[in-house]
């Protein structure tokens, strides 16, 4: 993939994440802070499908943006063919792992398994 495509995704995910996190914060402001962290309240959020989808999208956007940012930092830190390949694939694997683990949490909580 060309670096310009990667960077378009990087900027796009940043803009998307800022917008969605703002909505997430607005939702949180409908209650006082301590109440919003109550177990029942958190579970209720996950069980409300549109909100669970919002959290899932935030998770995906932030993971893509964050791990690409990490890849860029690591590429600037050291150079070398093998190192750069390891960094790129390592970041993709870590990103996938975080998305899978986060999605699992959202799914479990959303289906009321906890």
């Amino acid at each position: 993939m060309r670096e310009s495509v990667v960077m378009k995704i990087h900027y796009g995910t940043a803009l998307g994440a800022v917008a969605l996190v703002a909505i997430h914060i607005l939702f949180r402001m409908t209650q006082n802070f301590a109440d919003s962290l109550e177990f029942e309240s958190v579970i209720a959020n996950y069980e409300f499908l549109p909100y669970a989808l919002l959290l899932e999208v935030i998770l995906v956007l932030i993971s893509i943006h964050g791990f690409n940012g990490l890849r860029v930092i690591l590429l600037e830190l050291r150079q070398g063919r093998t190192y750069e390949k390891a960094v790129t694939y390592g970041c993709i694997a870590a990103m996938a792992a975080v998305i899978i683990y986060g999605s699992r949490t959202i799914l479990i909580a959303g289906m009321g398994i906890v």
């Binding site: 060309r2 670096e3 310009s4 990667v6 960077m7 378009k8 860029v72 590429l75 600037e76 830190l77 150079q79 750069e84």
Partner: protein
């Protein structure tokens, strides 16, 4: 780093005009082939209002230590040879007046982000090869030098688009000031990127896509974090940071 005892003009029987003002010139001395550490040697040098840092270094070479390694040629900020770190900032020694520095001690060191050849002289190999990679010439099938071909006419507006960027003298000060150059040994650098824009913006040139492809790399244009230090130190007002943003416009689809 060690400092060697200062030498003054009074200690040596040399014919230099007596001056009312003088400064301490600290010169970094280092030969990577034979030494492992950099030394600073101090010299007391008289100066006038118009004395440049290069003039002062040449006084040292003439009177105290002819072995000081320094590269220079035009002495009028045209050839780009005399770039060095002067009191911590990259600048042309022939374009920096001692009187403007407002300091009694002037420290001269080789530019950062370049391998040192000796003392104040650095190797430009990486910068020149990046510059060459970007095809720094007009790419076009047409020619104005063959028979029956016409001149490439450009309007003042056409020229305006790239003129500023064509003033680059390849001094390397921008690369030396660039924070990405310090850590990313494969980064193409602000000098070459500014030159890529110079040709991309020229309406006689047809090599835009080739050049955009070259800079659209994992160590290309996207590694610029827009610190802006390249533009701040450029002695010719080239503004590589702006050239980089304008080039990004093409890659992001804002410019055609």
């Amino acid at each position: 780093m060690a400092a060697i005892a200062p030498q003054t003009l009074e200690e040596k029987p040399v014919a230099v005009e007596s001056q009312s003002k003088s400064i301490t010139l600290r010169i970094s001395k280092f030969n990577p082939k034979t030494e492992s550490n950099r030394n600073f040697v101090d010299f007391t040098i008289p100066y006038k209002k118009w004395t440049t840092v290069l003039d002062a270094i040449l006084v040292v070479k003439e009177n105290f230590d002819h072995s000081v390694g320094v590269r220079y040629s035009c002495r009028q900020s045209s050839c780009g040879s005399c770039g060095m770190k002067i009191n911590g900032k990259p600048a042309l020694a022939c374009y920096t007046k001692i009187s403007e520095l407002n300091s009694n001690t002037i420290t001269v060191e080789p530019m950062d982000n370049f391998p040192i050849i000796r003392d104040l002289v650095v190797s430009f190999e990486r910068m020149f090869s990046a510059h060459k990679k970007l095809k720094p010439y007009i790419i076009s099938e047409d020619s104005e030098i063959t028979k029956d071909t016409k001149e490439f006419l450009q309007t003042p507006e056409d020229v305006e688009k790239y003129l500023q960027f064509s003033n680059c003298i390849k001094c390397g000060l921008c690369n030396s000031a660039c924070p990405t150059m310090a850590t990313d040994s494969s980064f193409i650098g602000p000098q070459a990127l500014a030159q890529a824009y110079r040709y991309v913006a020229d309406n006689r040139d047809k090599g835009k896509n080739d050049r955009l492809k070259i800079i659209d790399d994992s160590h290309g244009i996207w590694r610029c974090h827009f610190a802006g230090s390249c533009s701040k130190v450029c002695p010719k007002g080239v503004d590589p940071a702006m050239a980089i943003q304008l080039l990004r416009g093409y890659l992001l689809g804002f410019r055609k």
